[in-house]
Subunit: 405 residues, 2 copies
């Protein structure tokens, strides 16, 4: 391994925002200050788009106070991009990096599996061109669907949002009983929907039913599940991933959308944001004859809400940013991953380097041990896995179950 070159570095933030992607950015900045090999640290505006357009800001100039505020801010402080660069676009980026006044030899990219792939492609093309670039991926996603790493920065904060949302929503449903359906982000992996169960402390706390994309559910099964809970508790709170499938494996939301295309009367709403929630609510109303049925689709708040970070998540995201810079002093490329060393009260992690190719393009689903046998709830193993990542949840108290006098 050659000595780390004295050159400039670039960092970018890619894909959907999270609550702690800026903490990773601050980690990169803090660590870069410690290594004289990194002369300038450029922040790429809107990720690879800014890199290709030579559009950068100077990150080494930022004060400690500014960094503190940045780390506490949700979403991508540098702006993001959904672009998945092909080889041609990567070559364009490398042309900017090679310019004598840029001389960028370090590439740090905070994002999901597509971002790991971008780092991978960029690294391969640079190799072919004999251009020494050190390319690192820093994991980020609310979906928690990256391979290798135990969990992903961004998930803990989003999980805290889901838990707090359902703690409140369940108390709301206790106040005014009925059936409530909440549709949660996560098309392929159910981790975030599963996190809605993290705030349950009382035996009859909701969500009483949790449906993840990993387990298909027929409408008959769904309705009979809801009916059973409602008959027992006179209320029912349900969380459903936006990606849940029918028994035939086809995603419900897609089926609804197809309804649009075959409908000459312009029923555009079935592909709208609330379509799945409204469809499920209507099925419950029609089939179970329950009067008070409500449905919400949580939407973008789940990844962007300000002032609701998990302290554990912030800390780990920051450490991942730092680790990438440290690794770049010793390695040519890599992706930062998290290993869990202890759980519960002994929760602790260490970071390690993994290959870009082992993270690029692939995704992880919920393991079987996290989903109950009925396919309508989470297991204790999931709660133990996810709880430490939230950094702790608020306590609530309900009096309606107290003995009557």
């Amino acid at each position: 391994m050659a000595k780390a070159p004295k050159a400039n570095a670039v960092v970018g933030q890619s894909g959907g925002p999270t609550g702690v992607i800026n903490a990773s950015l601050v980690g990169v900045i803090e660590e870069a200050h410690k290594h004289p090999e990194i002369e300038n640290l450029y922040g790429a505006i809107h990720a690879v788009e800014g890199m290709a357009k030579d559009e950068f800001i100077d990150l080494k100039k930022l004060s400690a106070d500014t960094l503190k505020e940045v780390a506490a801010s949700p979403c991508s402080a540098l702006g993001s991009s959904r672009k998945k660069p092909n080889e041609e676009f990567c070559a364009q980026i490398l042309d900017v990096f090679k310019k004598s006044d840029r001389n960028i030899r370090y590439f740090f990219y905070i994002g999901g599996n597509d971002s790991a792939n971008t780092a991978h492609i960029l690294n391969m093309i640079a190799d072919k061109e004999n251009f020494d670039i050190r390319a690192f991926h820093i994991p980020k996603t609310i979906d928690n669907d990256l391979l290798v790493t135990d969990h992903c920065p961004g998930f803990g904060t989003a999980a805290k949002f889901e838990a707090c949302a359902l703690m409140g929503d369940d108390l709301d449903n206790r106040s005014l009983p009925g059936i409530k359906i909440d549709v949660i982000m996560g098309r392929h992996a159910g981790f975030l929907t599963a996190a809605t169960a993290l705030g349950k402390t009382r035996d009859d706390d909701g969500p009483h039913l949790v449906y993840v994309p990993e387990r298909p559910v027929s409408m008959d099964k769904f309705l009979s599940d809801v009916d059973a809970v409602y008959k027992k508790l006179n209320r029912c709170v349900i969380t459903v991933s936006e990606g849940i499938c029918d028994a035939d494996g086809i995603v419900w939301a897609e089926k609804l959308k197809e309804g649009v295309e075959t409908d000459a009367h312009g029923n555009i709403q079935l592909s709208g944001t609330g379509a799945l929630a409204d469809f499920l609510a209507q099925q419950v109303k029609d089939n179970l004859k329950v009067k008070r049925v409500r449905a919400d689709t949580f939407g973008y708040l789940q990844r962007s809400f300000a002032g609701l970070q998990s302290a554990v998540d912030v800390d780990e995201a920051r450490r991942c940013g730092r680790e990438a810079v440290k690794l770049a002093m010793e390695h040519d490329n890599g992706s930062v991953a998290i290993k869990r060393l202890g759980n519960g009260k002994d929760y602790a992690v260490e970071l390690f380097r993994t290959e870009l190719s082992s993270v690029a393009e692939k995704t992880k689903s919920m393991p079987d041990e996290f989903i109950n046998s009925e396919g309508n709830g989470v297991t204790k193993a999931f709660i133990e896995y996810a709880m430490p990542l939230t950094g702790g949840l608020p306590k609530t108290h309900y009096l309606g179950n107290y003995p009557r006098i």
Copy 2:
């Protein structure tokens, strides 16, 4: 005025939950402990329904630790009800109060204008029957639409939610630019929708357009407003009250629902939770030819989210609960109201008694001075009015506007 009787008291929580309705409950409990005139304090399960069914719990037995957790919990810890009791139902309640083992002579009711009316009716019927009951209303609503009081407990916490939501959503929209539409609770009063603007600190922060029910807006005006912002900033964040009206004064959401009734093809989704958001998004897509248009409907999270109280709101809600009990030692009936004594850094309030009839059944709208002349935003006067009630907002930092190097 007769001396306050030595007897039992009841407290109930009515209507839609808020983030601090339990703080008011705890205020009642704390103050009741101080007055030997109040022997037992009964908590009515599900408000007037529990009162009519003689279903109570013992609130004087709760420990300080329990009260602390209750005050920190969103939604109604005793359960709520939407029932608006008529004279007959009130007579039924009084029959329970009169039972020798109940002997309830103090009635505390936490709720909105309907709850003030319930207290009013109950008091009048008791008067007719020569039954000495002291009936008090404690204000609660996220909509902030009660008369007399400067503002209403519950609004500050919901306003904090809206502000944090939009601070995050605006940063999300900066990260991945496009047009974003958020539909906010509040059918008749625009205070909550206006609160989405409280987190704005930078010149180009969103929401860039805010539409409240107090100002009708035609589709042409809406689209031209959005177009103007989008042309200037290449993005646009819009908040819209669920109760906004078309230029003819008819509520948009109702128009969409009528579309359902005249549609033989079962387009049920137009009356769904996301209908208004989806409709507005489709109008923008079709007419402004913008590719990235997203829409969310915030739903029940706005009133129930756990762990996100405004400290100022909690304190005032608690004080309102205490004040009702204090007033009951001196008066026959009344509603607690808030008077603002100073603003900004000198923000302070005092509480006073107002007549039940002055609060009952009526509602307040946003005053003209809080809405800009274009009818698409809020004024500095509104920000100054609402900001202290949030108890402070998180700080965020965006780097994408920094000078390029």
